[in-house]
């Protein structure tokens, strides 16, 4: 097996990413029935019900649908399917296969709340209740327009209703227990193009983890986003960091669930609904700037680690082609800033060797209306990240880099932007300029709260087909 993801007809399209041709997403959370047979039949009938040839949509299928209508404003909907541990069980997967999944996935995100610092206002008992009651399947509908997404979503809802009606008085039926509406938001144009932003007002999606086999080997997007070698060259990250069945960054094929046919081309989706307290963020930054007579935009940039337009704070060859070798002490880009913590590049020494094994492929999308003044609107990020080892990748970053600061010489300080700060204890110390070499942001409030989430297995298309055909059942 190589380090390059080759099986594009089997890998779900989300692994490669949908790009900005698909700025709308509906994530539908389903609770399955108790009967494996009912559940299997439901998922088997889904392509016909939604009028979509293939579910889930593979990378190859997405590419061919785009090539049919490359200029279409509204490409067809594409579907991602993720199954939680409970979902796999309800689809009749045998106990021995279930037991072969990794612990973090089996336990689920709510049970891992201590590891992920989902505490205080982010504690699972305060999440949208359906998450802790149990979500078995996430169906992601991505589309080119709200109408297209809505149409597919309505078909899904009608199909669920029909299935329930068919079963008449029987209580055991499939339900949609929650829906998240993802929609990209755009800031001022840059270079003649509207640029996606996130709700705090910073440009989004500047750096995307390049995966070997899913990106052109000489793509300029690899620079600054991949793995940095001794010679200062950047490379895509080995596919085995994201997908079962391929070699990873240390030259090994990750051990996955058994039999290998359920694992191959599969990955884990970390799904988190993160509410952004935009008003709180703006007011905090303004207050700090006023108190110390600093520029508010610069203070915000120091907290985030990039400027609002996405430009890095260190000298750079392009918006993303940079490392931190010229700024080892964080005078330009603070060591404790959000961007530097979540992708430290070469900050920890040894090029990016100490970082490469903790990378994720982020596939998130904003939800809610853009902020346009003090209000209590619900907005934030549907944080979606793919990785092959939840413990080594997502949870490690969450525990060591977001909610602890040692690797960045920040003691126990947390990520100023997304850390789960304890009341009055959140702090960040940074170098502002020569006249203000030590600025301390004190009593950082929580700018982000977790509203729910789960770990989902995103199987390869063939693995999924076998799951819904009952091929991994106890008697198979």
């Amino acid at each position: 097996m190589g380090t390059s993801a080759t099986d594009h007809a089997d890998i779900q399209a989300i692994v490669k990413g949908f790009g900005y041709r698909y700025p709308v997403a509906r994530y539908s959370m389903l609770r399955l029935a108790d009967s494996a047979e009912v559940n299997q039949r439901f998922l088997q009938s889904l392509p016909e019900a939604l009028d979509i040839a293939e579910i889930p949509t593979s990378i190859a299928a997405l590419a061919s649908s785009n090539s049919v209508s490359p200029d279409s404003a509204s490409p067809n909907s594409a579907i991602t399917v993720g199954l939680s541990f409970a979902g796999l069980a309800k689809l009749g997967v045998s106990p021995s296969t279930l037991r072969s999944f990794p612990l973090e996935f089996c336990q689920g995100m709510a049970a891992r709340s201590a590891v992920n610092s989902d505490t205080g206002p982010s504690a699972p008992h305060l999440w949208e209740p359906f998450w802790t009651d149990g979500v078995d399947v996430v169906l992601g509908i991505v589309a080119g327009s709200v109408e297209a997404a809505e149409q597919t979503h309505q078909r899904l809802r009608a199909f669920i209703d029909n299935t329930a009606n068919e079963r008449g008085e029987i209580v055991d039926h499939i339900q949609e227990v929650g829906t998240d509406h993802g929609q990209r938001i755009f800031g001022p144009e840059q270079g003649g193009h509207p640029r996606p932003i996130e709700h705090f007002g910073f440009r989004d999606g500047v750096s995307t983890t390049p995966i070997e086999g899913l990106i052109d080997g000489d793509s300029p997007k690899i620079k600054g986003a991949g793995r940095l070698d001794h010679a200062g060259d950047w490379h895509a990250i080995a596919a085995g960091e994201f997908l079962y069945g391929y070699t990873d960054e240390i030259g090994e094929i990750p051990t996955g669930p058994q039999p290998s046919s359920i694992a191959r081309n599969g990955t884990y989706l970390v799904y988190r609904k993160l509410q952004q307290n935009v008003d709180v963020f703006h007011r905090y930054v303004q207050q700090l700037a006023d108190d110390l007579d600093l520029d508010a935009d610069t203070v915000a940039a120091k907290i985030v680690g990039r400027k609002h337009d996405g430009q890095p704070l260190v000298t750079t060859n392009g918006i993303n082609d940079f490392d931190y070798s010229a700024d080892p002490r964080g005078r330009q880009c603070p060591l404790g800033s959000h961007v530097r913590r979540t992708n430290p590049r070469d900050s920890l020494g040894f090029q990016s060797l100490l970082v490469d094994r903790h990378r994720m492929a982020r596939r998130g999308i904003t939800y809610g209306q853009p902020f346009d003044g003090p209000d209590s609107g619900d907005r934030g990020l549907l944080f979606l990240a793919l990785n092959v080892d939840i413990g080594r990748q997502f949870e490690f970053v969450q525990r060591e880099w977001v909610n602890f600061g040692n690797d960045f010489d920040q003691g126990a300080d947390r990520d100023p932007l997304t850390g789960s700060h304890e009341p009055d204890l959140g702090e960040m110390t940074f170098h502002y300029d020569k006249a203000n070499p030590v600025v301390t942001a004190k009593a950082l409030p929580r700018f982000v709260d977790t509203r729910g989430g789960e770990y989902f297995f995103v199987p390869g298309c063939d693995g999924y087909r076998r799951v819904i055909e009952g091929s991994f059942g106890p008697t198979s």
């Binding site: 201590a114 060797l353 525990r399 060591e400 602890f404 010489d409 203000n436």
Partner: protein, 386 residues
Amino acid sequence: MGEPSSSSLSSPVRSVPLTVITPMPRWKSRPGWAFLTYMRYRSKLHEVRQLRFIHFARWQRVSRRSLTNFANQPAEADGDDLFVFSTNFNGPWDQYIDTFSRVDNIRKGIRWLWGFSDKFPGPTPIRNFKSYIHHHTYAEQHYFDAYPDATVRDIAQALSVTEGLRQFVATRPETRSTDEAFARNYVEFLDTMADTDVPTGTTSQSFLTALSPIESADSSAASQQIRQYLEGRSPEPSPFADCPMVHMARIVVVDDLKPALGNRNATSLASRYLLFVVELDGSIGDFLDRLSDSHPEFVQAVWGSCHGFPVDRTGPVFFRQYIESCTAKPNLPFAAFPGVSVDQIRCALDTRHRLLKQVSQWGTAPTRAQWKHFAEHLGERGHHGY
């Protein structure tokens, strides 16, 4: 403790001990010892230092024959020697091992260092290396860390800031003609304070490794009793807290030398052993005297049922002589801050904490009078002669 306990997952612990003892076949033992000796004088273990998450590490060959020290102790038959690796590090176990095998020179080092151990699979595939280390890991029954809240990075920063502050204080900035002139100097100091190199210490550090045989009449009961005593007293402050020269210390009950997986012909140890590993400032003898002076009941409870322990003669001299007779010579020690004493580390951590708190409270530059008061306060504490 090998892998961090589940409770530690939620709050990253600052220092984690790891004790690994692997069997070293006799024919490899002498070249292994020669290699360690060579490394001790030739290698600076630069890469290990650069990782900045290891406080101490030690690789040590203990010849099985050298374990027989007392007349009434069952002689150790010929069999594999012991290769003892002990370390204290920050962060999760997996990250530690993972990192070790990713960095070229460290990977080579691992290949050589454990290459003399039985059935060592090499640093890669990493899962084989991890399971080898895991298989040969021994749980610590007692662990002491003199600065439990500080990581290697915290200490490096504290030493650097403290040295920068020392240099600044020495210029007596408060004697500048105006507050404005002082403020300029103060801001310059803040701008560069974290850039000062970590000073090299001058304290001589010692590394104790002692293996004491546990009485054989019923060594299983005796070793169980020691375990229960040590684990049962864990909420109590460690007796090493009263020995100001101790950086880190651990006690491990070794029931036997675990044979490498797949080796069916391994010879068991004739006794169970008590492994005592300490990193300290100054002389080992002074430390042992201090321990037995301040905590005779601890010494008696832990070592009292060991062969050769001077049951009838109490007092520091005898304990010191006893442990010295069980001591294995150090082979390859690593310290993140060679020559820097426990006291210097604690003072630096305290100084950095107080400085940053004060800087944050002041907001802008303090007046000369405020600074003078702060600097004098540092002096009053009597640390480092500010």
